[in-house]
């Protein structure tokens, strides 16, 4: 199958440039990238109905989203592979990397194979699973890392349940190193953060909410980096959200450890004051930070110190959010809203488009050893075509996710996904 997308603004995160061009897709891969908007290709090569005029809109490598929660098995009423896949396609996410914090946890090759099968049947985008690092995410015994890798696990994580026992973690890391497995940690001192719903400071004190010092993140990262130094494992910190955690991250990278870091879309675009009068849709993990921290992490994404941006898509039903703030569940959906929300940083002049897609597509793909995330010849034809300027008022009930818990309901955003391609096939086209 052949498609020619002409008259596009191509975003190339590898070269760090935006240029008018066109792209030829063939057999699921990018067959050619032209730096003219309308290359002279006859209709005998590409017939008229296989041509898409992008109308000057942006074409970028599809988003690779590390850390998506899909609630299968266990809580399918919150999200299924079908609904999440539709949401991803509509959000320009072409590869979902799923979290194992389901009920039960994805911690055996049998469960992993089951969900991979479900995903392939139901989702129009690529789905790659992560597996639990310890059995039942209980932090006691490591999972069958080897078998799980054979079954297709791309990384190992206990998600927000930090492995408290450093001996357990060091052994799991040592074992994982031998297999070349990637471990995704949640840098957070577990004792300090117990029961916390917000970041400590004036806001939390004013609202009387249990809070955790932002220092807990640095402590968690310091510990994990020491263990990386000890074991030599490949390590990715899921979310670095505070200014104080940035120097140790920078040091670890400078010392040549195989360490990368991510951040959520929410921590880049919201701060603790957005919680306002106990709005539980703004309760995420780790909690939203001070504005100084937000600015510091945006800058860290710009410089590349923070490698990856993810949605940390976490579906919650209305019941688990319609509770007093302390009791309410954490997390927000983001697959479908991530790109328009992050374009705020583009419109504000904080990040240019190649930098944004370096963190959204190129870096996460590289970290997982995937060939996608690039706008280059012979890369998989996973692409997102979007209009960065189109104004939208977000209506949460229009989202494709089964759960509607977005903090951006009613927000005025600029940017809309026009069309999404996975392996050269159109999986979404806006009305």
């Amino acid at each position: 199958m052949t498609t020619l997308i002409t008259n596009a603004r191509l975003i190339d995160p590898e070269a760090g440039r935006v240029f008018p061009g066109s792209v030829l897709l063939r057999n699921g891969v990018i067959a050619e990238v032209f730096d003219t908007p309308d290359p002279a290709i006859g209709t005998d090569h590409v017939p008229q109905d296989a041509r898409i005029d992008a109308g000057g809109k942006c074409l970028a490598p599809g988003i690779v989203d590390i850390g998506v929660k899909i609630c299968e098995p266990g809580e399918r009423h919150k999200e299924s592979y079908g609904s999440a896949g539709q949401a991803a396609a509509a959000g320009g996410v072409t590869t979902i990397v799923t979290r194992p914090d389901t009920r039960p946890a994805i911690d055996t090759p049998e469960v992993l194979e089951f969900i991979r099968r479900r995903a392939n049947e139901a989702a129009p985008v690529n789905v790659l699973p992560m597996a639990a690092l310890t059995k039942g995410r209980e932090g006691r015994e490591m999972t069958e890392i080897g078998f799980l890798m054979d079954a297709g696990a791309v990384a190992f994580t206990d998600c927000d349940r930090v492995v408290r026992d450093t001996k357990v973690l060091s052994r799991a890391m040592t074992y994982a190193r031998a297999l070349g497995a990637l471990i995704v940690g949640h840098p957070q001192d577990p004792a300090l953060s117990t029961g916390a719903a917000t970041t400590s400071g004036k806001f939390a004190s004013l609202r009387g909410l249990p809070a955790v010092s932002p220092m807990a993140e640095r402590m968690g990262l310091d510990r994990d980096i020491a263990l990386v130094e000890m074991t030599g494992v490949r390590y990715h910190a899921d979310q670095i959200t505070t200014a104080r955690a940035l120097p140790p991250l920078e040091r670890a990278k400078r010392n040549g450890f195989d360490v990368t870091a991510g951040i959520s879309m929410h921590h880049l675009t919201l701060n603790e004051f957005d919680i306002a009068d106990y709005r539980t849709f703004f309760k995420v993990k780790p909690p939203l930070r001070a504005e100084d921290d937000r600015q510091a992490v945006v800058e860290a994404v710009r410089t590349g110190l923070i490698d990856v941006i993810g949605s940390f898509h976490t579906p919650q039903d209305e019941e688990s959010k319609r509770l007093p703030f302390e009791e309410a569940a954490s997390g927000a959906v983001g697959l479908e809203t991530m790109l328009p929300v992050l374009l705020r940083l583009y419109h504000s002049g904080d990040l240019d488009l190649p930098t944004l897609f370096r963190a959204l597509s190129l870096n996460p793909a590289r970290r997982l050893g995937l060939d996608c995330g690039r706008l280059a010849k012979s890369a998989p034809a996973d692409l997102v075509l979007f209009d960065p300027d189109k104004p939208v008022i977000l209506d949460r009930f229009q989202l494709r996710s089964k759960s509607k818990n977005t903090p951006f309901d009613g927000a005025r955003l600029q940017g809309k996904v026009v069309q999404t391609f996975v392996n050269g096939t159109s999986v979404y086209r806006s009305a």
Binding site: S200, G201, K202, F203, A204, S205, L206, R207, G208, L209, A211, S213, D277, Y278, E319, R322, L323, P324, F325, E326, E327
Partner: protein, 320 residues
């Protein structure tokens, strides 16, 4: 100068002139309560439901009495023993009660923000009787009334709040109210019992009690809330009493005519010396309890007035 609030959720939402209106009316009720003719009928035909999701004796009794003196039909529900145990959510409980069409709902809840949440789901007026560590507005108002009656004014006073600030909703509401009325607020306590970022609240923070008490007009002691402690905030009760318990010697650092307050229930010998608490020349603790009923009567009276206005406006709207 009118009081237009629909609910009394916290001091944060009140303007200084609304606080004054409330205290002026409270003063009238306080005098009336001292006379023989305590009862009125301003809430006649209205239903007041007290929902306490957390144990309380004095606040609940005070609200109950206030409602009865105003002629309301008062019902108190011990929520700890009820549907909550059966797994009903707060919002569902609120909807259920709302369907019974009460006029005033008095709510205490162990979680901050829970009363705000509940108020969004009901048609009646909601009074916050304490939510988590967030606010306890009627306590701050009764403290303010007590201070105003003892000192003759509620501005340009130096007021020390001592003890477990971190876990105290009383402290938060008082800091806000006293600040709005332009007083100097000092907080005294060990750093483990101070909330983070407290210096940004427009207060002075002291770790040394004698220094903090110097020349203050009012000493407000807080209960050391043992039931809130996860453990390990202070080394022991006796060390706490030695360093932060109010006794006659420490009180000499305050102004000679400084008054001593405590929201109760007191832990004698933990945060306050028993003899001092009973000293009628310094302690206004009993008066605080008395003012509590008056303030709650005034708050419910004013909320009932706005409720009636809103309802009659709605009726007119229906007819038009």
């Amino acid at each position: 100068m009118t009081f237009t609030q629909r609910h009394l959720l916290g001091i944060e939402q009140l303007r200084p002139d609304e606080i004054t209106v409330l205290l002026d009316l409270s003063d009238k009720y306080a005098d009336r309560n001292r006379s023989r003719a305590t009862s009125t009928d301003v809430l006649a035909g209205m239903t007041q439901i007290n929902m306490f999701f957390e144990n309380s004796t004095r606040t609940q009794a005070s609200f109950e009495l206030a409602g009865k003196r105003l002629g309301a039909d008062v019902m108190s529900m011990a929520m700890q023993a009820s549907s909550v145990k059966k797994g009903e959510t707060l919002v569902d409980t609120a909807m259920t009660l709302n369907a019974m069409r009460p006029d005033l709902l008095v709510v205490r809840h162990p979680h901050s923000g829970a009363v705000d949440l509940l108020s969004q789901k009901v048609d009646c007026a909601v009074l916050n009787a304490g939510d988590g560590r967030h606010e306890h507005p009627t306590q701050a108002l009764l403290d303010a009334l007590t201070i105003r009656r003892a000192k003759g004014r509620l501005h340009r006073l130096s007021i020390a709040i001592c003890g477990d600030i971190a876990h105290s909703r009383v402290a938060r509401s008082n800091i806000m109210l006293l600040g709005k009325m332009e007083n100097r607020v000092r907080l005294i306590g060990p750093p483990t019992l101070m909330p983070a970022g407290i210096a940004e609240f427009g207060v002075e923070v002291f770790e040394d009690m004698r220094e903090g008490l110097r020349d203050v007009d009012v000493v407000m002691m807080l209960r050391l809330q043992k039931e809130r402690m996860d453990g390990g905030f202070i080394p022991s009760e006796r060390e706490y009493y030695h360093r932060y318990g109010l006794d006659a010697e420490k009180l000499t650092h305050a102004k000679e005519d400084a008054i001593v307050m405590h929201p109760g229930p007191m832990n004698r010998g933990v945060e306050i010396d028993g003899t001092l608490a009973d000293d009628i020349n310094r302690s206004v603790i009993q008066e605080q309890v008395e003012m509590g009923v008056a303030v709650r009567m005034a708050a419910m009276d004013l909320l009932a007035r706005s409720l009636r206005e809103r309802r009659s406006a709605m009726d007119k709207g229906v007819m038009a």
